[in-house]
């Protein structure tokens, strides 16, 4: 468990919150990327659990949170709706591991592609990336405390560490 009042953000989901009692988390990330955003003055935070770096051609786009080019703008938009300022927002990226060899997958090195797509989307929105824990071969979990903007992550069997 990540904390009392925790909200686990599943595959393709995204949530923004201004509730100081809430901790947003994404657990067991492999090649997926958790995009975390936080405005320290408004104390608004959000997290998106991004699955893919692109919107596949012909896809119905029923779950925008799955795709980096749609998820990141939507996450920022929801944070702004709750009072965040884009100028003050900071972002963190966690995940994007190479759990399986790229050769095994039709999408290739999906972790690296996810990370790149999320960085690109944040850059186009002029949201600064404050920290990353991406790549490697091990899965990760991440959490954001909405009360103070603390972002922490861990791999299996390890303690939470701040990012």
């Amino acid at each position: 468990m990540i904390a009392l009042g925790a909200v686990n953000i599943g595959l393709g989901e995204l949530v923004a919150s201004v509730d100081p009692g809430v901790t947003l988390g994404a657990l067991g990330l492999g090649s997926c990327i958790a995009v975390v955003v936080y405005d320290g003055r408004a104390r608004v935070g959000g997290l998106a659990h991004v699955v893919l770096p692109i919107v596949p051609p012909g896809h119905g786009v029923m779950v925008p949170g799955r795709f980096a080019p749609l998820a990141v703008p939507e996450l920022v938009r929801r944070a702004e709706e709750l009072g965040a300022s884009r100028k003050r927002l900071r972002a963190w990226l966690v995940g994007g591991a190479h759990v399986l060899p790229a050769a095994a997958l039709a999408v290739g090195d999906i972790g690296e592609r996810n990370a790149r797509a999320c960085r690109d989307a944040l850059r186009s929105l002029r949201v600064a990336v404050a920290g990353e824990a991406v790549g490697g071969a091990k899965g990760r979990s991440v959490r954001l405390a909405v009360a103070d903007g603390t972002v922490a992550w861990r791999t299996i069997g390890e303690d939470w560490r701040p990012l």
Binding site: S31, C32, P101, L105, A106, I156
Partner: protein, 202 residues
Amino acid sequence: MELSAAMASAVARAVEASARDLASFAGTPIEVRQAAVLALDVAEVPGRLDSVESEYVGVYAGSRGGLPAHLLLLMTRGTAERLCRLLLGDDLVRTWQEDDLALSAIGETGNIAVSAFLNALAAELGTTITPTPPLVMVDMIGAMIDALLADMALRQPSALMVDAQLVAPESVLDASFVTLLDEGSLTALALSGSGPARSSRA
């Protein structure tokens, strides 16, 4: 995706084939006590297994040829260790995580199990396959699965999952076979018989 009776039977027979080949390798009887087959949206798979952060041992193999698929054989650390002891004996296994021989045995065992499973499924469709070399992983369940989910999300969102209990003398091995097939293969399996079934228990 609706699980047809034919699809559930085909998958259950694939687990039986897996147990037979494992028994042959181990030189000891191994029976399938139960095999619950589920058809799921891929996003539901991690939640069906355990907490997504739980540590599992996974053996991955893909297949090329007439049945493009991903297969992930998942077991707990305890099951992996029991499997090693079954195959190598107590004297040869200290702790599987630190023992190259034990990890190699898990890889070989997984290779046998997943190859038999995939070959049996391919036979149901009257085709042949070439499994990829096995890859052994020890990680969070969610992390092992989400790369496969991402890969398959580009094509279709369904998975077949079998929770199986394999029983050998003095050993009970609980394992999950998570199979992701392309849409054409799923349809072919679904149409290979008649009548829907939400789940099946062998």
